[in-house]
Subunit: 223 residues, 2 copies
DNA sequence: CGTCGCCAGATTGGATCCGATTTAAGTCCA
DNA sequence: TGGACTTAAATCGGATCCAATCTGGCGACG
């Protein structure tokens, strides 16, 4: 056999379906409010509806979809208040993650941060690529977090808001990009130097600033 | 018809199963590490395994059980570090919830806080009842939170740690109870007065203190 | 005597099928 | 012409059935 993915047995279909749907929502292929039919997804991936239903339950717990009994699943729609609330939670949890991570970063992980910072700056002005680099940079700062719960929570936050960040970043001026880059440099510096307290403050402010800017774009949530 | 629970159609079995399992874990009937067999649960509730499997996926996302592919589900076991990490998250999120809640509390909800505080003090020394009252008192303080995400997250935290708090409370001295009651009174006061900042600090310290005491009981996690 | 491999029972994962509920179109009547 | 009722198609929830995988015990071999 060729390689077989170093498989410890086969991976359950539910996980494959869940990942596939996550990617589809993440990439914008499935927009907020879009209906997700079990039969359609099942046919598309060549499985029955059973693993699709289990995957949908999982995604619902992650906040990515909303299931209405006997009616169906839809990609979760966030209104302005929900979006802001997620940012408020991020303002509390991401500094914690930073603090838990910094002391445990390996040399490779530190290199990743440096590299991703450079990538991020290189993509300035390129909305789609910048968005992706932004995500990876921030998550790289939390790579040292030892317990999976906190990390999963933060990733879920990024996933549920991804689609909306995409809309927001389209409104970025060159100055917005520049300020972002500046803050990222400071954060990376704090991470590499082990300046826990300073990094925590920087991250909180970084997210807080994003949330404040949000208030100027409330209209993006009207539909 | 009598009342029919104001039903908008029937409630899906998955939710019934999930709630039942949550309760069983919550009450200690299912201990951490206990294996959860789909067939057993299904038979017990008179349903097939399908809704059981979906419920298990849901509980996994909530952190209550761990599913090993092709092997089965077990009630989640927390080691000392995971438990401490959850408390650290609570230290960040519950003050936020308090702040979001206080300004929006209705008169009924304020009465609930007063009443539950009294109940809590009345159960001093009675571990089992105190545990339950403690939970309800704290959650009552967050009753004004408008967005469900934050609240669900906090409830999940309380659920996953419930079994361990039960063990810890058994080690409480009269002084421990007294100190707890004192802090609860201050928190209730802040909630009723609308002292947001003070309440946030109190709650953070309240949880922090619980976490510190935990360090003296590391042995409870050995198994 | 301990370890590795093999076989049977138990348990999970997935597919297909059926009944129940929702949704939407179409019709009737004011 | 517009709204409410009826009916039919689409879709979901759940049950039963079958295949794949894991667990535990037995025996053979080193």
């Amino acid at each position: 056999m060729p390689d077989e993915a170093s498989a410890p047995g086969r991976e359950p279909m539910t996980q494959v379906v869940a990942r596939s749907l996550r990617d589809a929502i993440h990439s914008g292929e499935l927009e907020p409010g879009a209906r997700v039919r079990q039969e359609t997804v099942a046919a598309e991936l060549g499985v029955s509806r059973i693993p699709v239903r289990e995957a949908l339950r999982q995604l619902e717990s992650e906040g990515l979809v909303v299931i209405v009994p006997n009616s169906g699943a839809k990609v979760a729609v966030l209104d302005f208040e929900e979006y802001a609330e997620i940012y408020k939670m991020r303002e509390r949890l991401e500094p914690l993650a930073f603090g838990e991570s910094v002391g445990r970063l390996t040399d490779e992980q530190k290199d990743d941060i440096t590299r991703l910072l450079a990538e991020l700056e290189a993509e300035t002005g390129n909305a789609q690529a910048y968005l992706e680099a932004d995500r990876r940079f921030h998550l790289a700062c939390y790579a040292g977090v030892a317990t999976p719960r906190l990390l999963k929570m933060i990733v879920d936050f990024w996933n549920t808001t991804q689609r909306y960040r995409r809309i927001l970043i389209a409104t970025f001026s060159p100055d917005d990009y520049e300020l972002n880059n500046f803050e990222h440099r400071l954060i990376a510096e704090a991470a590499l130097n082990g300046s826990v307290r300073r990094g925590e403050d920087l991250i909180r402010m970084h997210i807080e600033r994003s949330r404040f800017r949000l208030a100027h774009h409330r209209d993006l949530f009207n539909r």
